[in-house]
């Protein structure tokens, strides 16, 4: 844990400085996770702030300080999912925006080597985002948490509050779908 349990207890009791301490300790991790989950750097901070606002109002529902991290992950996943649903309702295209951002990033980079590296990274991001297009937002988030964030099944079980077997089945199906898309990409020479 990035903060002492005592700090969490104090924040639960309504201590604003303890809450500040928690936000300072976890904001970078939350920002990183959201960045990988939603793929829109310009909105990452906004979603992260929403996570901490939800955390503030739900701290009293936290049973014990030990389950704080899965709790925070759950809030992060839910806020990201709500955000993705909102933009889907608005009919915005993730890929188009990403490409625009990539162009901007490429323009702003000066060095040739750095530019090449960045282009490579952009290509990887674009490819994985394209593979993720073949699945639902729920499965995409789950697979990202498992494969990209590197969370264990035990941690996912705590976050999603479902049995490990059910998670395994869902993960297997999601991975199979991505694998199929990956095989097609390999056959098409995109990799």
């Amino acid at each position: 844990m990035l903060v002492e349990q005592e700090v969490i207890e104090k924040a639960r009791a309504g201590d604003p400085s303890a809450f500040n301490q928690m936000v300072l300790a976890y904001r970078k991790r939350v920002l990183g996770t959201i960045s990988r989950l939603i793929g829109r750097p310009e909105d990452v901070e906004d979603v992260a702030q929403e996570v901490f606002v939800r955390l503030y109002y739900s701290l009293d529902q936290l049973r014990t300080a030990e389950v704080f991290e899965p709790w925070l992950y759950r809030l992060t996943v839910n806020a990201s999912y709500d955000y993705l649903r909102r933009i889907r309702r608005r009919g915005e295209s993730r890929m188009a925006d990403l490409s625009e951002q990539q162009v901007m990033m490429a323009d702003s980079l000066a060095g040739g080597k750095k530019q090449a590296e960045e282009q490579q990274k952009s290509k990887v991001r674009e490819l994985v985002d394209a593979l993720f297009q073949h699945m639902s937002e729920e499965d995409r988030l789950l697979l990202t948490l498992k494969e990209v964030e590197g969370l264990s099944l035990k941690e996912l079980e705590q976050i999603y509050n479902v049995k490990e077997n059910a998670l395994k089945v869902r993960l297997f199906r999601a991975r199979q779908r991505v694998l199929k898309a990956y095989q097609t990409a390999v056959a098409d020479g995109k990799l």
Partner: protein, 115 residues
């Protein structure tokens, strides 16, 4: 694990490395507190409305209870059903009462035809 499986794992690892680290802006914390306060304001309006509604419902409940208690006491003052009937003067206050006919009317069946 097939080569494609490990290729996919490798791609996920590269994806993790390719996702840029997002640094929080200087206004991150103040904005979090602003949002908390804004939501508190929003919810406090609902809270106040809910409290007012609950108070009004409680007063109404008490009034109904009191009314019920008074009428029950009035009913209990009568010893019996006949006392209650005697005390009830509502029939005397009605403006319309049907006339009681002492003589048979013309369209009644004659006594000779009754059997």
């Amino acid at each position: 694990m097939s080569t494609e499986d490990s290729g996919l794992d490798d791609l996920f690892q590269r994806y993790r490395a390719a996702c840029p680290d997002v640094e929080p802006s200087a206004t991150f914390m103040p904005v979090v507190w602003q949002k908390i306060e804004a939501r508190r304001g929003f919810w406090s309006v609902f809270e106040r409305l809910a409290r007012t509604g609950m108070a009004a419902a409680a007063v109404l409940c008490l009034l109904l209870l009191a009314l019920n208690f008074v009428t029950a006491n009035q009913r209990a003052a009568f010893q019996s059903y006949t006392d209650a009937l005697m005390a009830d003067h509502s029939a005397e206050q009605t403006y319309y009462t049907e006339a009681i006919r002492s003589t048979p009317s013309g369209n009644e069946v004659p006594a000779a035809l009754r059997h």
